[in-house]
């Protein structure tokens, strides 16, 4: 009888103990998640490395999964081209005439420039080395604006390098794995790009705000900037070359100035990573390779 009572009391205890253990496990995991968040905020090297390793290991999966999307995009583009071929032809004819006129002007200017440079003994700027990579993931949603590309350290991509498309500035490299890298978009809250308003010559900073329309800061209040003005990189800071288009002013008031970026991130399938061989505005990564690598002149990422 005593044995039976003892076994009943043990069985009676087992359920509350299990519930208590489950609650404890839940709270422990919650506390662990919170602690990890604090450590991530402090940008500890171990967590950053863990992130790079995880992203690098799944980059091939993302690359494969993004192929059908790319194929669909190509098919849709082909269908659109087929239906708009006549209108497109007319437009291209007109554009060609305009470009021929510009080409003649450019040739005259080229000769004039060469003569002036020879007279001034001008030291030419270094042309950047470039790597082209495919966009394999669009990460972050409304909270973190970044892209993953399928080129990394093995393609000589380094943290801080400028990322551009044919239209203009996309962002800069924020994290580098062996075969993938994260691009911090110019629209992200942490993005700051030294720029210049083409029409007025005002030096400004293009500041990301996590919307599709980055703001312009450090603009003089009496500056005659108006809607439609082009904003280009100023070249300060050493990350972006001067003169790359960033966007056009879409809203200009006393309180704020906003840009419409020239690059349509949603339609961006490939990006170019430029290397000027300078450190740029970002501090060097913790793991600097002992032997400096030499990047190829240009080449597609595999």
């Amino acid at each position: 009888m005593a044995k039976r009572n003892a076994s009943m009391s043990v069985a009676g205890l087992a359920v509350p103990v299990r519930i208590w253990a489950q609650r404890f496990a839940f709270l422990a995991l919650l506390a662990f998640a919170f602690a990890l968040m604090l450590l991530s905020k402090a940008e500890t090297g171990a967590l950053q490395n863990a992130r790079i390793v995880i992203v690098d290991s799944v980059a091939p999966i993302l690359s494969v999964m993004s192929r059908p999307v790319e194929a669909g995009q190509e098919v849709s583009s082909s269908v659109k081209t087929y239906f708009l071929v006549h209108a497109e032809n007319d437009r291209l004819r007109q554009e060609n005439e305009r470009l021929i006129r510009w080409m003649q002007t450019a040739r005259q200017l080229e000769v004039e420039n060469a003569t002036l440079r020879a007279q001034l003994e001008y030291v030419p700027e270094l042309s950047p080395r470039a790597v082209t990579a495919r966009v394999i993931a669009d990460t972050g949603g409304g909270f973190f604006h970044s892209l993953l590309i399928n080129a990394g350290a093995r393609h000589f991509v380094q943290r801080g390098q400028a990322v551009v498309s044919r239209a203009g500035v996309v962002g800069r490299i924020a994290e580098v794995g062996d075969r993938s890298a994260r691009v911090l978009l110019l629209t992200d809250l942490n993005s700051r790009i030294p720029a210049i308003v083409e029409s007025t010559g005002d030096r400004v900073i293009v500041t990301g705000n996590n919307t599709r329309w980055p703001g312009v800061t450090y603009l003089a209040s009496n500056s005659p900037v108006s809607v439609g003005d082009r904003v280009v990189t100023s070249g300060h800071g050493g990350v972006f070359p001067p003169g790359l288009p960033i966007g056009t002013v879409s809203e200009a008031s006393e309180t704020r100035t906003v840009l419409q970026p020239v690059v349509d991130i949603a339609r961006l399938s490939e990006a170019r990573i430029l290397d000027y061989g300078v450190e740029g505005i970002l501090p060097p990564p913790e793991k600097v390779p002992a032997v400096e690598k030499t990047a190829p002149q240009a080449g597609p990422a595999k």
Binding site: A33, L36, M37, A50, D138, T139, G142, R267
Partner: protein, 174 residues
């Protein structure tokens, strides 16, 4: 012996379906689609899978798995480690506590449950992300994303339902 081996492999395969489908949705939700604004307002597909599997097969979606998937998502999107993990853990705990009200009910009740979970999870993510980033992030984008998440849920739930019927099976009565 062989049959036992195949049975074990089949059983293992069935057990990993919830985790695999949730991981697949993590990848799918971050594909670079050529749609304007999609990246900003993309639906929270993994949240749907967490909700679905915790309601129908909680035995195959333990909190440690939910936590691990959250950490993986944080690594992928560049968020601070623990953000998605915390949101999924809280979702797991809430849905598990309300599970008895959702199982065996019509679909619209199941959907309504998600219509409560998704905005709370979205709002919590927005608050934590804003605190971590030190600025109020745009709330209109988050609202649009939550709306799209709730609207798209039946499609994803339908896919998960069929994956459950074909691959996993029903849960043992508890």
């Amino acid at each position: 012996m062989n049959q036992t081996g195949i049975g074990t492999i089949g059983d293992f395969a069935r057990r990993v379906v919830p985790g695999v489908t949730t991981m697949l949705l993590v990848f799918l939700s971050h594909l670079h689609l050529p749609l304007p604004f999609y990246a900003d307002i993309s639906p929270a597909l993994p949240l749907m899978a967490v909700y679905y599997w915790v309601v129908f097969r909680p035995d195959l979606m333990p909190r440690i798995l939910v936590f691990a998937i959250g950490l993986f998502q944080d690594a992928l999107i560049g968020a601070p480690f623990g953000l998605s993990a915390m949101i999924y853990l809280l979702t797991h705990a809430f849905v598990l506590s309300q599970r008895q009200f959702l199982v065996g009910k019509p679909f619209w009740i199941f959907w309504s449950g998600f219509a409560i979970v998704a905005p709370v999870a979205g709002a919590l993510t927005w608050i934590i992300a804003s605190v971590v980033r030190g600025a109020f992030l745009p709330s209109d984008i988050v609202l649009a994303s939550i709306g799209l998440t709730v609207v798209v849920f039946p499609v994803v739930a339908w896919c998960l339902l069929y994956s459950q019927r074909w691959l996993v099976g029903e849960a043992e009565p508890s």
